[in-house]
Amino acid sequence: MSYTLEIQTKARELLTSKQVECVIGYEVGLRGRTRPAFVYDAQDVERLVWNQACTHNLTTYLNDKLNPQGPVKNKTKEHTPGRVAVVVKPCDSRAINVLLAENHFPRELLHVIGVVCDGILEKVGQSGNLRSVRQLPISDLSQVQSRCQRCEGHMPVTYDTLIGECPSHQELSLGKANQADLIHIQAMTPAERAEYWFSQFDRCIRCYACRQVCPMCNCPTCLYERDDSLWVGIRIGLNEKRTFHLGRAFHLAGRCIGCDECERVCPMNIPVSLLNRMLAKEVEALFGHRAGLAPIPPPFVTVLSGS
């Protein structure tokens, strides 16, 4: 059975038996583009699909659905939470562990439909910045997004239903891509690095899409958007933009699971994930912690061990 059919079948079962009130998955829109879908009715499950354009991290919608009384940065409407099911890729599933560790919602309210994923296609730009994704089978590595090329775990780390089979090591030749871009920057002098980042952030328009799409960025009022400009002003200027991005990266240290959606949504192609990846390596080196493999708190929340 194709993944699409399996997901539809499971969704129908969950909705009919009222185990969940909503299934968050993917659908294809009128232009042929894949996008998030919220299915409430068993009759609508045929909307759900799985394809190689399912890039979105759907866990970003969980807080709104499951913890509406708590701090929510992006409310749909007031309601009492019922159970929801969510379709997740292996990277997205790690986000669930981080959200659980931070007590956003109880695990029982969530039914995780985990998908064994072999990679999502790169967005195809055309002049005019069209974000369509080709619906083709993967024949060579370079067509897949960079984060997929770096993926080390093709199995969801948490799931209630598994779509697909646990991959054997031979089948998956998607290995660790090198982090050459990180090494390149670390080899620069401080002045060169500063110039590099200024030239990247120059294009930034502080649209905050990177922050909004991130499941882990869920402060109701972002520190960098305060009305009193306490930490950064509202100017869409170089210094402010850099402070926002660095500050956000720091707040995600040990929490970012590397879905790189922040980079995908950026309308200006800013390599935001570089900062997150650098910090992930740093946190792993210093504290031996990798985000999302288990629902344990990130290192900054705990005290030094042995004390």
């Binding site: 583009r33 919220f38 749909t76 409407k77 005019g128 294009r203 899409a209 869409i236």
Partner: protein, 342 residues
Amino acid sequence: MKLTTREGLASWLDSLAHEVNLIAPRDIEGVLLYRPVKSSMEIVLEFINPVLSVKEAFFPATERLLTIEKTGQQITLNETLPEGKQVVFGVRPCDARGLKVLDANFTNTEPFDPYYTQRRSNTTVVGLACHQMSPTCFCTSVGIAPNDPGDMDVMLYRVEDGYIVQTVTKKGQALLSALPLETKELSQNGSDLHNSYIYDQAERVPVPEMSTWLAHFRDIYWEQVAERCLSCRICAYVCPTCRCFSVRDEVLSSENGRNQYERIRCWDSCAGEAYRRIAGGHNPRPEKGQRLRNRFLCKFVYYPRQYALGYAACTGCGRCIDACPVNIDITEVMQHIEEVSQ
């Protein structure tokens, strides 16, 4: 009709770049944007549309309105109006129409905005007709066309031998008199001009009447579409006609008892959750569905009605469709509203 060659255009642009601040489409690390250029070599001539619209040259993302100096009890204010002549080159009809829409708010209505108005009067708009429509373009549905010169000062049409040059306004005429562009008369007549532009007439998108939009104000549709909305601000920031902003006084330096502040305004968007929050904490649009609905109604009802535009405030450029991370599609919304009203 006058024709100029590619070389003629290039050398004209070079001399223009010396005289004024020339803003044209440039490739900045793989992203196409309207940016100042120093020579014609930097300009991209084959493109659909830059990521941000040309409104940035008139209504920048951040603008200092005035500086405030406070020494003891003495307060001095200094207006910081924009100076310098500009030419924006390579403007598409959708963006030029966008400027007309912004004019209605900033320039044509009291109190008029001196910053925008000054830039507008200091700038000449040189357009470039589109050779093709992208899948997300729908300018023809909202009353303009890819080769429409109506909102430009000078209009260029690329043809096989070069570019046809059309002077549209007095301001355009003044620019060409001050800095002549080498042209020769064309033997063909004007109708050939339009014939050389054949557009894939994509299906027109229906533009519902204002009353139709309002009749569906309370539909659950808005909440359903907005469920995937991230409340980022991309749609408003890339839009040629979105013009909401936030104003704040911020601290500059202070030296020897002389405190300095600036009043700046920056782009903002009604899609943001905090946008409509007022003193006291009340927010009339706390839910995404309400904010999404507001954005569309502003384009098709509120703004055209308030300024008696005569056309929708949406210019059909399609940038929001391209840029939205979750594929919220304005044409889909327009079609839906039209369908449910049948």
